[in-house]
Amino acid sequence: MTAAAPMLEISNLHARLADGREILRGIDLSVNSGEVHAIMGPNGSGKSTLAAVLAGRDGYEMSEGTVTYLGRDLFAMPAEERAREGLFLAFQYPVEIPGVNNMYFLRAAINAQRRHRGEPELDAGQFLRAVRAKLKLLDIGEDLLQRAVNVGFSGGEKKRNEIFQMAMLEPRLAILDETDSGLDIDALKVVARGVNQQRAPDRAIVMITHYQRLLGYVEPDRVHVLQGGRIVECGDKDLAVELERRGYGLLGDATAAE
């Protein structure tokens, strides 16, 4: 690890819902450029809340703690600015947007980012060339791009579309929320290949998952276990294998006993 500051630094993060229920109860996590992290945990542990809070979803109150992204206070930026600064969230349940053409949407996204960076917008031709190069990677037919965003897509198509968007947007930090859920083994392999091809020294990837399955294809540098709104254990890829064997239950007992 270098002496440079981490790309993402989460310190003692607490987040609660409008009704006062505290979901995140003191998260500490540090992610460096070039690393792949896995955050595992049982249902209700706060995994998806962590992803949502980082991406900027409304409806949470961050009562304590800080998150620094590329040296800036993440919570000072609205969701779209985080995205333009290279933060990407692959949704567990990608949203269907009737009437908005997938290509049109993606070009608007890319051009919003390019404007933010002071780069010229891509015209239709340039954009199409960029798209074609990345489509093959994820085994996506061009017809999918002519349809409305996620409308009528199968579960697998939706997840592949998320990773395809990631490939197009080339984020600095990608958070993949349960990207493996609902995928059969072939689709899982395609998605994993897409993720692996996007590993890069200047990019960090955080995979949030319930199961070890995806980690068999995308090998993480670090594995964290999230439980009851806290990270209760950290390790390398072997921790994921161990968790698969012994389950989260035992850990839960250990935490409770602390």
């Binding site: 947007i97 608007a108 996204a109």
Partner: protein, 445 residues
């Protein structure tokens, strides 16, 4: 001067009666007796009815008090002037594709702005005033058809219409390009423009029209168009309302469907202070197909109503309706859609959908489906919804770097686009989408 009358007169109708008595003697001298008689009867009908009351179901959502207080009498008989401003307006609202174009300025046919040459044989297109004398065979039967129900503004229109258009298509003729009718207003203030038009689609004919309403000034447009489809005729009408910000637009479309005929109507209401579009379709023959779609996009203090009635009097008819409404600012929109299936009109299949977006706390949209079914073997359904933009979709777009304003714009455009895409002609669809984009750019300023 008050005309001497021997029928009951509602007070708000009085100024119109006076205007009828004093206005344009030249026209009456030129017009045939049957038309003069018809105008007189219509005026009496209007005087008796007065303005529609908000207690009448079809008018409950529209505020006509301003019109009741300040009469807007018919514009004078001056020949329309194709001035610079009018030509500029034409260039803005005109359809760029190939079309036969007929332009009406201040409610009167303007030959110099029109381009109707090259029509296939068997097609007659011209002004209503000309048709009254040149083609009384067409005009008389349609105009004189009795006004059976209480339609006060149609009656007023009959009394005062100066012109309009007539399109007659012989059996079996298919038009190779759309007919574009453009109604312009040159900037008068405080007067009303009454236009009356007629389409006769012969058996097995195929045609489409784009009717655009635009203008400068503060005026009241009172337009009536009647479509008669013979057996197996296919006819499409696109109505685009882009009236001046101060204008009042009351438009009525009446369609009578013969056996196995197909009508596709689409209206897009974008401009005007108060706009009402009423479509009445009488399915009188068996196995007709009626596609009745449309949308309104409102902001500021705009008001718009879409009122539809489809009356299935014969078996086997099919009706499809999709209406979308968008209201921002302090605008108010309403959709009222009635579908009637008469006794014996078995196997009718009708579906109606009204979906609406209310974008600000002070905007409102009312939607009121009415199904009246008197036959037992039919399929009829409706759906209605009023809501705001989908927050989940807005967040999804934000996580892709798309700012809130652009994201809202994208979702609103997509919402209306779904209705516009029901227009069959790709060129007309593109035209509507470009007019829509222009309107949406000003929606939430």
């Amino acid at each position: 001067m008050s005309a001497v009358v021997d029928f009951p007169v509602k007070p708000e109708a009085r100024p119109y009666l006076d205007a009828f008595g004093s206005g344009d003697p030249g026209r009456r001298a030129r017009e045939p007796d049957w038309l003069a008689g018809y105008r007189g009867r219509s005026l009496a009908r209007f005087a008796e009815l007065g303005f529609p009351s908000r207690h009448s179901e079809a008018w409950r959502y529209l505020d006509l008090r301003a019109l009741e207080q300040t009469p807007m009498l018919p514009a004078g008989a001056a020949r329309p002037v194709a001035g610079e401003a009018t030509r500029a307006q034409l260039a803005v609202v005109g359809f760029a594709g190939a079309a036969y174009r007929l332009v009406l300025v201040d409610g009167r046919f303007s030959p110099e702005l029109s381009a109707i040459e090259g029509l296939p044989s068997g097609v007659w297109l011209g002004g209503m005033a000309a048709a009254v004398t040149e083609r009384p065979d067409l005009a008389r039967s349609a105009i004189e058809a009795p006004l059976e129900t209480a339609r006060p503004f149609a009656a007023l229109n009959a009394a005062f219409f100066a012109d309009g258009f007539v399109l007659d298509i012989a059996p079996g003729v298919a038009l190779d390009r759309p007919v574009e009718i453009i109604h312009l207003a040159s900037g008068g203030t405080g007067s009303s423009l009454h236009t009356r038009s007629l389409v006769m689609a012969g058996a097995g004919s195929r045609a489409s029209i784009l009717e655009t309403f635009a203008g400068h000034g503060s005026y009241w447009r009172n337009d009536v168009v009647e479509l008669r489809l013979a057996t197996g005729a296919e006819f499409a009408r696109v109505g685009l309302v882009e009236e001046a910000p101060d204008a009042l637009h009351i438009g009525e479309m009446l369609a009578v469907l013969g056996p196995a005929s197909r009508i596709a109507s689409f209206v897009l209401l974008l401009g005007g202070r108060t706009v009402r579009h009423e479509a009445t379709v009488q399915s009188q023959g068996e196995a007709t197909h009626c596609a009745l779609h449309g949308a309104f996009v409102l902001s500021g203090r705009q008001e718009a109503n879409i009122v539809t009635t489809v009356d299935h009097a014969a078996p086997g008819g099919e009706t499809r309706e999709v209406f979308k409404g968008v209201a921002a600012g302090r605008a108010h929109g309403a959709f009222q859609g009635r579908i009637t299936v008469r006794p014996g009109a078995q196997k009718v299949d009708a579906h109606q959908l009204s979906r609406n977006l209310v974008l600000s706390p002070r905007a409102a949209i009312d939607t009121k489906p009415e199904l009246e079914i008197y036959a037992d073997d039919v399929k009829c359904s409706h759906g209605a919804a009023v809501g705001d933009l989908d927050e989940a979709a807005l967040f999804y777009l934000a996580t892709r770097g798309i700012g809130r304003k652009e994201a809202r714009h994208m979702l609103i455009e997509a919402f209306v686009r779904e209705a516009v895409e029901l227009v069959g002609s790709p060129q007309l669809r593109e035209h509507l989408l470009s007019r829509l984009a222009r309107r949406l750019a000003m929606l939430e300023e």
